[in-house]
């Protein structure tokens, strides 16, 4: 029998004690594992909430909403006020107009701006569209066969900004973005509009009686913005005659300063000039409550590890002291000090190994129910300690990343590697220290003294 084999055998010497140590170790391991999983779940959640809220502030003329209502466009002075507000990192401005089809018989809303284009909208009017567009009769009467919905044209300093296009994301499928600071007759065209009118990069079309060249085609995954035209800001301001901008997007550095910055902008501009909106600011309170859960989970994790280590350390200390006399016998028959240390380290490693294995199994069994409780609570109601009230129904938390079971299962995979390694290394170090140091101290004592007994 080798020293290691005897050490492993010693681990089973006292069944009750072995079972107790392994059980306690397993519980603290499992707890640590679950808490680590929770921290990771909360991190993922926080990231998704932050992404949903974004760090942008939208400023529009007071009294306007899209193409409904009135109000005056925002002026250059207004933009300067916005960009000089504290925490504002960058601003993008845009103006939007609507173009009607030059051959369409029944232009929408009487075509107040008078903009016309030779393009046809890619959005099919349907009976509702005809009803609104036709403008006569309760059931829409008989709309003209060649009727086309108006096309939105946006002039922007940041042409392909997702916020300006009201989209989750914007990708160029071909060509390039127009230069937002220029005043050329160039345009980026939404994918659907391009398909409907068989436009490619390099094609031309007419708007406001000018010939525009298509320089890029973009995809936003949204039916509406994929049917839009984007041109440089100055180009559209000149052609449409709108003096100013209809939307200013201000970016702030972090989500934490979002609502205070929005308030400052609003008070700088005045409520009669502009209306200021942000992503769902209520979600900021969810973030703070998520952070509180994370803190609790982190402390529990540390607590579980400390408890487990303490138990392991004290148990090994007790075991070594109890076998004091046996260490004397081994030394009397020629065991080296190193041999004594190896014997106890092997025993400690055996106990730790069993505890870790049982802990991982227990942790995996426990993690799903615990995570379910934690994640559901944090997403529906701020139950944990009453952090940050959140109005009911807060639609902004639209689960954009889909924090569903798939995310949870991918979390498992991540935990499988780094967390386990971390926990096992920690336990090994603790077991080593707890067994090696006391056994070495006793091995160094003169055997006569040790054999003399307690």
């Amino acid at each position: 029998m080798s020293t290691v084999a005897r050490g492993v055998k010693n681990a089973y010497r006292n069944t009750v004690r072995t079972v107790s140590i392994v059980l306690i170790l397993a519980i603290s391991f499992a707890l640590a594992l679950v808490m680590l999983l929770s921290v990771q779940a909360v991190n993922t959640r926080t990231a998704s909430v932050s992404a949903a809220v974004g760090t942008t502030i939208t400023v529009t003329p007071a009294g306007s909403q899209g193409f409904n209502g009135g109000g005056n466009p925002l002026t250059t002075a207004d933009i300067t006020k916005i960009s000089s507000t504290k925490n504002v990192v960058s601003v993008a401005s845009s103006v939007s107009d609507r173009l009607s089809n030059s051959s369409s018989t029944s232009p929408f809303g009487g075509s107040a701006t008078g903009g016309k284009t030779n393009l046809k909208s890619s959005i099919s009017p349907g009976s509702l569209g005809r009803r609104f567009g036709g403008g006569n009769g309760a059931n829409g009467g008989a709309p003209p066969a060649n009727f086309s919905l108006p096309i939105t044209i946006t002039g922007s300093t940041q042409p392909l900004s997702a916020t300006i296009l009201a989209a989750q994301s914007v990708t160029l499928t071909s060509g390039k973005s127009v230069d937002g600071s220029s005043s050329t007759y160039t345009a980026d065209i939404g994918k659907s509009l391009a398909t409907k009118n068989t436009l490619k990069v390099g094609s031309t079309f007419t708007a406001y009686s000018k010939t525009f060249t298509v320089v890029g085609i973009f995809d936003t995954k949204s039916t509406f913005s994929n049917s839009e035209i984007v041109v440089p800001l100055k180009t559209l301001q000149t052609l449409s005659g709108i003096n100013g901008v209809t939307t200013v997007i201000a970016n702030v550095s972090t989500i934490n300063v979002l609502s205070t910055t929005a308030t400052s902008i609003q008070s700088n501009l005045g409520t009669n000039v502009a209306s200021v909106t942000t992503g769902q600011t209520n979600n900021a309170s969810i973030i703070s409550s998520l952070n509180s859960i994370k803190t609790i989970a982190l402390y529990s994790l540390i607590g579980a590890l400390v408890a487990g280590s303490t138990i392991l350390f004290l148990s090994m200390l007790m075991i070594v002291r109890e076998r004091r006399r046996e260490i004397g016998i081994l030394k009397a028959f020629g065991s080296s000090n190193g041999g004594v240390v190896r014997l106890f380290v092997a025993e400690a490693m055996t106990l730790t190994g069993m505890g870790a294995a049982a802990g991982v199994i227990l942790g995996i069994l426990l993690s799903n129910p615990v995570l379910k409780v934690l994640v559901n609570n944090s997403s529906t109601t701020p139950t944990t300690g009453g952090f940050g009230g959140r109005p009911p129904g807060g639609g902004g938390f639209g689960n954009p990343v889909g924090f569903g079971s798939s995310t949870l299962s991918s979390l498992h995979a991540a935990v499988g590697i780094n967390v386990l390694i971390f926990g096992v290394i920690a336990a090994i170090i603790i077991a080593f220290v707890g067994s090696a140091i006391p056994s070495y101290i006793i091995a160094k004592v003169r055997p006569a003294e040790v054999l003399r007994g307690e």
Partner: protein, 222 residues
């Protein structure tokens, strides 16, 4: 040949030092069967510990063959105990979770004897001391006191030591069993030229040894 010269052992207890062994000198020839007698607390165990390299004297020297063990390093003492000494204790001191045969194999493991050889020699030694058959695979708790002491003697012989040191080997046994163990140790010194030193209270045993040393308050008396 064991030569003890003026060894003294003092223990520091509280404020006053205790002199357990006081200026003791003697020598024992190879293959002799020696006994140490004396009242309780006279320093017998302390003296034996110093002979076995379990402890170092405060002053004086212990020479075994050509080795001065009283001034050896920790490492020297470990190899001295492993190769030259076999201990037999009053309380048997077998490792409780190892079988009899594994207990006998233990010193050979420390000496680096190959595994197969360890087992066959252990079985042979146990047969020799009369622990035979299935008893060799029992744990100490399932053996009688006499049987345990036989196993302990087999263990002491494992590495073919030059010297066997036995501290009251019959102390925990009844008279009849004690006699068997005693004669076993005596035979060892006769047959294998092993020096055997035995500590005992019993003058009947002491009378049957080649040489007897009597301790009184740490002093050797004639």
């Amino acid at each position: 040949m064991i030569e003890v010269k003026n060894i003294t052992k003092e223990f520091q207890t509280g404020n006053s030092p205790v002199t357990a062994v006081d200026d003791v000198s003697f020598s024992i020839e190879d293959g002799q069967f020696a006994s140490i007698v004396g009242t309780s607390g006279s320093g017998k165990s302390t003296l034996l510990s110093m002979l076995g390299g379990l402890d170092k004297p405060s002053s004086g020297s212990v020479r075994v063959d050509d080795q001065v063990i009283s001034s050896g390093s920790d490492r020297d003492l470990i190899s001295y105990r492993r190769n030259k000494i076999g201990f037999v204790f009053q309380a048997f001191n077998l490792i409780p979770n190892l079988k009899a045969v594994e207990n006998v194999m233990l010193p050979m493991e420390f000496a680096g004897v190959p595994k197969a050889e360890r087992r066959s020699r252990a079985v042979e030694l146990l047969d020799q001391v009369g622990v035979t058959g299935e008893k060799q695979n029992r744990r100490p708790s399932r053996l009688s006191g006499g049987e345990q002491q036989r196993v302990a003697i087999a263990r002491a012989l494992a590495n073919k030591p030059r010297v066997i040191l036995a501290d009251e080997p019959t102390g925990n046994l009844d008279t009849k069993t004690g006699k068997v163990i005693f004669s076993m140790l005596k035979d060892l010194s006769r047959s294998a030229n092993t020096t055997v030193i035995i500590v005992t209270h019993d003058m009947n045993y002491a009378e049957k040894t080649d040489v007897t040393f009597r301790l009184e308050d740490g002093h050797l008396v004639a």
